[in-house]
């Protein structure tokens, strides 16, 4: 049976985050924690493969104990097992340190439940917002990566081949690869299902498996958490809105206004730069 691992992250719903205008700091209170939007699409794709071919779907997250809730949501949708990789030592990880721990966790999941055929990630997170963790994991596990997937055209479990459509700025690319692969999911990939009733019942009782640093005997502790993260946030600030001296153009009727605007534009360097004659 196929073994699929989905990496999900619980994130603050950044659309709800406000800036306190007095202190210029983020107001996080009352901001709901959600399963990262794109990760639900990754999970849905795994569940579809499970429906069609039969598969074991393991969900993994690295995060604080409160991320349990996000994992239970994945169970309610139909994931078989959920793992919370959680330890104070993991805190403050950037994408490099995160991909290391997730790759270790995926290897451990292989030891527990059999070789992994596919890893599924979201396109990017709402908070980290880099899209780097997926490629990072693929690299660590030395498997092929197919990013920004908007469609899985087919999966041949006999030949162990997959064809996907990758979304690019100027078109779509059809790519064939050999399993195992890592794919990162776009929202166009599918529409995540709602939880089923049996799923909800199972989720209510479900306790995710928790792995800490002690569960990874060979872990290099200098490569995790804040210490293992080469990027440092040196400062944050709220951008000043750009200020310009707006010239309001007025006139007697739309024609006069339009004419005045054109005269102004022709008086700038635009005609020269744009080749207006």
């Amino acid at each position: 049976m196929l073994h699929l691992v989905v990496c999900i992250k619980q994130v603050p719903d950044s659309r709800e985050i406000r800036i306190d205008p007095k202190t210029n700091t983020l107001v996080r209170e009352g901001v709901p924690a959600i399963v990262n939007y794109f990760d639900l699409h990754a999970l849905e794709e795994a569940l579809r493969i499970k429906d069609e071919h039969g598969a074991r779907v393991t969900v993994i997250t690295m995060g604080p104990p409160s991320a349990e809730k996000a994992l239970r949501q994945c169970i309610s949708m139909g994931a078989d097992e959920a793992v919370l990789v959680s330890d104070r030592a993991f805190a403050g990880a950037d994408t490099l340190a995160t991909s290391y721990v997730l790759a270790l966790a995926i290897q451990k999941a292989e030891d527990e439940w059999g070789p992994v055929d596919m890893v599924l990630c979201g396109k990017q997170t709402l908070d980290g917002d880099t899209g780097q963790v997926g490629p990072g994991i693929a690299c660590r596990l030395d498997i092929e990566q197919l990013t920004y997937v908007e469609k899985v055209e087919y999966l041949d479990t006999e030949k162990r081949e997959i064809v996907v459509h990758r979304h690019l700025e100027d078109g779509v690319e059809r790519v064939k690869a050999k399993l195992p692969v890592l794919i990162t999911a776009l929202a166009e990939l599918n529409r995540p299902r709602r939880a089923s009733l049996p799923g909800l019942l199972r989720a209510a009782r479900y306790r995710p498996i928790v792995w800490t640093t002690n569960d990874f005997p060979n872990i290099d502790r200098s490569k995790i958490g804040l210490r293992g993260s080469p990027t440092i946030v040196s400062k944050t600030w709220v951008p000043e809105p750009k200020q310009v001296n707006t010239e309001f153009i007025e006139g007697d009727g739309p024609e006069a206004v339009a004419q005045a605007l054109i005269d102004r534009l022709y008086a700038t360097d635009l005609p020269q730069k744009l080749g207006w004659t």
């Binding site: 030891d111 059809r174 060979n218």
Partner: protein, 370 residues
């Protein structure tokens, strides 16, 4: 248990834990820009990054390098010099025709480890992010995604700033521990240098790092999205919002755009209402653009829209509400009804061109079909 241990032992050691080779970071010098291309055509973000790379390299008093990977792409190596590079690495081979992560990343890793740039920049495109994520893990080093500002300080540290929390904040990110310092940067944020054919530089051929038979992924085909607007490269954008009241009014904007040789953009509100396709959307969840002239028509100027277009050289706002925030960033403001103003502007331009053509019949300024 014994079986389990055996499995663990069979595994290759994980990559990306220690830098390969020497870690004398002081020998790392210069800025490297990885040029992105498809079918021999470079993405404009590559030249924009060479422009910014030139500014950083000059500040560091170090060379600006470019890496061109593909098949039949030697002309792009010359272009990279015209756009500011001192030295270009060229990996030109049939199996590199289509981008694929492994063969491309191996070439990048080879060039980075051999020529040791202190900074590596790539476009924050789908391909650029795919490639940068793989390379940074392999090296390993720190990578900042989606930068909108790039600078260096006195200690030669790269200050890569990027929006965070849905553009509500900016954060400056450093990488002190490793070299090179890597960043991807958005299209449309930095300005390319003027193309200068008199510039000279060195082109260094680089061999592919994988044999064709080692490459297991295959690009079956590329389906070009036809009719897709290219907002990032447009010099003139005529954008409309909810104030248009419906899809029909986009016709007025298209007419104006046609006269100016521009393209039509939109606010999210107009896109969400289904008046125009998502590929026209400008702003935080759409394109970041840097045209020379931007018309914001019936757009209120919400911050999520403004972050995507505030770097336009000239902004003209047309809105019936004099208090609309868009006027705060506009060079020219017109308070009025877009249904009257926009056709009047289109007309005024036509008349101006017609007058010009009448005065100079040999060189009509409107394009003619032969």
């Amino acid at each position: 248990m014994a079986e389990k241990e055996q499995k663990e032992r069979k595994r290759k050691p994980m990559v990306g834990l220690q830098p390969e080779g020497d870690v004398d970071w002081s020998s790392y010098r210069g800025v490297l820009v990885v040029v992105e291309q498809r079918a021999g055509k470079a993405k404009s973000v590559s030249w924009q990054l060479l422009g910014q790379g030139r500014r950083l390299a000059d500040k560091l008093e170090a060379p600006l390098m470019a890496l061109v990977i593909g098949s039949n792409v030697s002309h792009l190596a010359r272009e990279a010099i015209y756009y500011g590079a001192d030295r270009v690495f060229l990996c030109d081979s049939p199996e590199l025709e289509n981008y694929r992560t492994r063969p491309y990343s191996r070439v990048c890793l080879h060039v980075i480890r051999t020529y040791k740039p202190e900074i590596v920049l790539m476009g924050a495109t789908y391909t650029g992010r795919d490639l940068a994520g793989a390379i940074a893990t392999h090296l390993p080093t720190g990578l900042t995604a989606d930068s909108t500002q790039l600078d260096v300080d006195d200690e030669r540290l790269l200050l890569a700033s990027r929006p965070a929390f849905s553009e509500k904040m900016l954060a400056t990110i450093l990488c002190k521990q490793f070299k090179p310092q890597m960043a991807t940067a958005r299209a449309g944020v930095f300005e390319a240098l003027p193309r200068d054919e008199s510039r000279t530089g060195e082109i260094i051929p680089v061999p592919p790092q994988m044999k064709p038979e080692e490459i297991t992924t295959e690009v079956l085909e590329f389906l070009e999205a036809t009719g897709k607007v290219n907002l990032e490269d447009a010099d003139v954008i005529v954008a409309g919002g909810r104030g248009l009241g419906g899809p029909g009014a986009f016709r007025l904007l298209q007419d104006l755009a046609d006269e100016l040789g521009g393209v039509v953009g939109a606010s999210r509100a107009a896109v969400d209402l289904g008046w125009i396709g998502h590929d026209h959307q400008i702003g935080q969840t759409g394109a970041t653009v840097r045209p020379k002239l931007y018309f914001a028509i019936g757009i209120s100027g919400a911050i999520q829209h403004v972050v995507g277009m505030q770097n336009a050289t000239y902004i003209v706002a047309i809105n019936k509400d004099p208090e609309a925030p868009i006027f705060k960033i506009a060079n020219y403001g017109i308070v009025g009804d877009l249904f009257q103003i926009v056709p009047a502007i289109t007309n005024a331009i036509r008349q101006r061109k017609a007058a010009k053509d009448a005065a100079d019949p040999q060189q009509p300024s409107t394009p003619q079909t032969v």
